[in-house]
Symmetry: C2
Subunit: 335 residues, 2 copies
Amino acid sequence: MQDTHISLAHGNGGRYMRELIEDLFSRHLKNPGLDVQADAVPLHLEEAGEILFTTDGFTVQPLEFPGGNIGSLAVHGTTNDLAVAGAVPRYLSLNAFIEEGFEVDQLERIIKGIAAAAEQTGCRVVAGDTKVVRRGEGGGVYLATTGVGIRRQGLALSLQRIRPGDKLLVSGPIGDHGIAVMLAREQFGLHGDLHSDAGSVLQLAQSLLNLSGLHFMRDPTRGGLATVAHEICRATGHQVRLEQDRIPVRDSVQSVCEMLGYDPLFLACEGRIVALVSDSDADAALRAWRALPEGRSAGIIGQITEGDPHVILETELGGARILEELEDDPLPRIC
Amino acid sequence: MQDTHISLAHGNGGRYMRELIEDLFSRHLKNPGLDVQADAVPLHLEEAGEILFTTDGFTVQPLEFPGGNIGSLAVHGTTNDLAVAGAVPRYLSLNAFIEEGFEVDQLERIIKGIAAAAEQTGCRVVAGDTKVVRRGEGGGVYLATTGVGIRRQGLALSLQRIRPGDKLLVSGPIGDHGIAVMLAREQFGLHGDLHSDAGSVLQLAQSLLNLSGLHFMRDPTRGGLATVAHEICRATGHQVRLEQDRIPVRDSVQSVCEMLGYDPLFLACEGRIVALVSDSDADAALRAWRALPEGRSAGIIGQITEGDPHVILETELGGARILEELEDDPLPRIC
């Protein structure tokens, strides 16, 4: 398209909108299932299994950060929700709310991020819509993605399957995404090799599905690992005990957290999984994860017990404290 | 929930967000398929047929207008896209981008609009996400909805099936939604009984599916009837001839258009269908529509011919002119 910036006319249903969709969205997202002329498209789901469905909105600021952008994040965020439910992502819909005046080059980088992440995950964007909102009413770009995947029949993962004695595993260091976005946003003058962990957890998730002791998985995004622990606690009525010195945190993330007063336990990850696995299968799960490049820092970091329904953090010095639920967000607009 | 206005904490993944979702969204949208604890939910699609998929974003201003609100509009808009593709809507996902400071009472009215429209259409909201954006960065509420429906196997409706000789039908008066929203927005001091036509076209669409001469349907939303005519023209390479005096337009809509310089042909409808039907089945289609309350003003308003690929408007005085494609939007933010 010839324009360098988005105008309200790109959202009006006429020629400009068609050019925006054809020249930018369709060109990069091109695939046999995408039909920009159709009101609705057929989904071809040949595999036997349950059809899973999930959706997410994305408002991260800044829109681009080390390790990704709002486009790649939107695809990984939604497909990861399917992956931790045990499904293989197949199709995505994409909504873009674009602010008047937004730079077309940046929009193109975001769309390329969507295309690359979709290809990496093996799924296709087959339906989409764009809306243009007035200057000042949009934060640049917001995205919403809805995903459809297929899960093997009979695979039941749920909070309700978690039992006392289950081990809690995490697939990699926590807090990378939160800190990478925060540093990109705040320009503290802190430099380093900190990248968001935004990425697909599909292989990690798939690698555990043959373990009968796998009870539940979740990706710790908004609110971080601590929030997943609280969800488990609330849903099961059991106690969640985390061992602080076993939780993988990069030195660089730890340093920034200490400097600025953040707790990595509450920071968003966008490429990690928490898994709840029976004691007897926990070591097998750990081995499966560590055999994958994205799981080589995986650890068994806690367990479920029959005590009072609290999240307990066992500290390195042998103490233990109740970890309270997140109330004020340390880092808003992280996804 | 106790708060009267939305704060950033309602988007942070912690306790406030849980309360917002449980007390407002889940309460009104409650159904057996909705599981706010799960990352992804199974879709139960027992009927044989193709699975259809569609998505739409909504940024209408004002958020409430005579005949609906952004919530009911989002459900009707997305389910209507399934309906005109020949499908029965079954499931929806819902994304809400809510601006900090938004009034909880108004949010509740919007959610009630979603619930009522979903119930009316026989589909369920089973997945959702909310994000809160900073004050001034959101236009109150934006919604994105993705729909899944089932279409009878072998039912092929497409622009490519349109043939010269096909008749063009519209199911009711055009422009009601555009004018109702515009009057609600601009406060011209014009009063009257003008309501948006926002509503379900499912019965209208279903009533034609047994006609072998049914080739294509579309709901004329952004860009109106004229934009649908241009899409047909572009996709088929044929001429679309519209007879101005056969196009149903309410007197009140016509009056406002004349006063303010709008052309109803370019105004959005949110509860109408355009159908392309073979000459031999056109009367049967018209009878089917007129037998329904929402179709009693339906008309045969034009036809496809083999002339140059233009949209031609035959005027009441026997003249004919080329109807140009929409470039500048007469009424932005209409859906």
